[in-house]
Assembly symmetry: C2
Homo-oligomer: 323 residues x 2
């Protein structure tokens, strides 16, 4: 395997350890007072952290919203808890949203490894530097969850964490999965689907293929895809696309039936791969499904003789934006 | 032009008239009492109505959420106004969400042309039958807005409506646009982008290409696409994809700059088409941009010798789901 100049594989293999470290980073940080809305402001991987939070706390009585924009919605107020999450601390949208949160008198907690955000923020969780933001998902997610646990908003599920870490530690299994799936994908564009509850996972798969493998990839959810996207399969070419279904043993029975029937219908045209989440807790199921994408997108990059780490086009864009 | 057996063109051309009729359908219907969350439960075009509402009422102090699922979030309660929207009245996800809304003691208003939903609903807005659900967007959106206006939650902007209807009435212009864009797209897969505020529009373009033209199509938003999807362009083939940017004269200046730079970067690989919204009010800008997609997807279907109206695969799926 030729090209991995910056050792993305190491970052991926260290992911369980990152999660373990990340779990401790919110230590003692809590917010007080009435909170009736939670907003996670961030872009890319940081926003995926917000979507994951929504999935993980799907029973929440408090609305949780990921905002990927310069401004926050107008309903953000002093009873809103806003997490401003930016790995570098210099993401312009997140800095702007952070500013907006302060203007709206929200309770704000920043999560960052440095940059302007670390200078501006009052309540701040500092996370380790030196990774590609997309390889820092553990650091971007667990401190946010930690603050919610410390504040009595989310339950502390230590048992879930142990199960998750045990599952993620089986590196050989994930690696074999990733190599095999990369081969199966070949030159085709992956289309990734999951239930609405796992939409953050499907989206993360897409973005990992985009950023690590530098290929087009798209994500959608069940059952919404049954109302529109499925019709497009009528004219799709076998050699251009491949579908990946993220399945979970706890999927609603109608979603299970929809996935089965959809597979039957579209596999007359397009190859369908099914990937099952692992573990019994929601945390394990979410993170096992996410971690598969790390390996699959990594090996797809190598297969295409592409270095998974650098994202030159984003660096180039940022330079031009600063002009 | 050979194939339009069920006269989809007529439905598209009648759209301004549909909007005019739809505006009157909520007459007198209002909800009272404290409302601190608004949820639009629906699938496909009905859910797009919810997303559009969010865009149109972007200044809202009340969170607005489109839910495309069998269950509503746990924060739905007696202070939540839930619109259950289903053109046929038999969409199983929406019926399930309607049931859930009642269990959660939300204030519920149903919008439908008939079916089970019309039998079950207390507060009901009946809309005309006989269209494909996706061709009924005016009926699915304006009654919801009407209830909010009648309830003092949204402003009554009669002037906006007049401007919008005038713009939409220029059928020749829309038709010429659609024919030209369909030719330009050819056999390539359209990738549609808009600002976060116009995300419902980009998504509607995608679904219209899926359902009317029966082709693959995907949508994403600025600036999030700058953080991941843009990297995939590195390996995308010129003859496989075409990008369409929905632009608005009121786009945030950083979004404008991002779109300009992104166009410059990706058009080295992939053709980029820019489409501007029309009019000065948000209503005109949203609906002009939406209406372009009706025509473009229609002519793309004819160009591919495909009847735009029937969506056999969805009918087939529904039959299998009922077994």
């Amino acid at each position: 395997m030729p090209i991995d100049n910056s050792n993305m594989l190491k970052a991926i293999e260290d992911f369980p350890e990152q999660c373990r470290t990340a779990l401790g980073l919110a230590k003692g940080m809590a917010v007080s007072g009435k909170i009736d809305k939670i907003v996670v402001a961030g872009m890319g991987g940081s926003a995926v952290g917000g979507d994951l939070l929504k999935s993980y706390l799907h029973d929440s009585k408090i609305p949780i919203l990921a905002v990927r924009d310069y401004k926050l919605p107008n309903f953000v107020d002093e009873k809103t808890l806003v997490f401003a999450v930016s790995y570098s601390g210099n993401t312009e949208e997140t800095l702007s949203a952070f500013d907006d949160a302060q203007k709206k008198k929200a309770k704000v907690v920043a999560v960052t490894s440095g940059g302007k955000l670390s200078e501006l923020a009052g309540k701040l969780i500092k996370i380790p530097k030196g990774l590609q933001p997309r390889a820092a998902l553990g650091y971007l997610f667990f401190p946010v969850l930690g603050v919610l646990v410390n504040s009595g908003i989310a339950k502390d599920n230590a048992g879930d964490v142990n199960e998750m870490l045990e599952i993620l530690s089986k590196k050989e299994e994930f690696r074999a999965f990733g190599e095999k799936l990369a081969k199966r994908i070949g030159n085709r564009t992956p289309l990734i689907y999951a239930s609405e509850q796992f939409s953050a996972v499907a989206y993360r798969w897409k973005t990992q293929f985009n950023e690590n493998s530098k290929v087009a990839a798209f994500a959608h959810v069940f059952s919404e895809m049954n109302h529109n996207e499925i019709v497009g399969y009528q004219t799709m070419a076998k050699d251009k696309f491949i579908s990946i279904f993220i399945r979970d043993n706890h999927d609603n029975e109608r979603i299970v039936k929809r996935m089965d029937i959809t597979k039957e219908i579209i596999s007359q045209k397009i190859e369908v791969v099914e990937v099952y989440t692992k573990g019994s807790s929601m945390l394990s199921r979410l993170f096992s499904a996410l971690h598969y994408a790390d390996y699959a997108s990594y090996y797809l990059a190598l297969q295409n003789k592409i270095d998974p780490t650098p994202v030159h086009v984003i660096e180039n864009l940022k330079k031009k934006l600063a002009e």
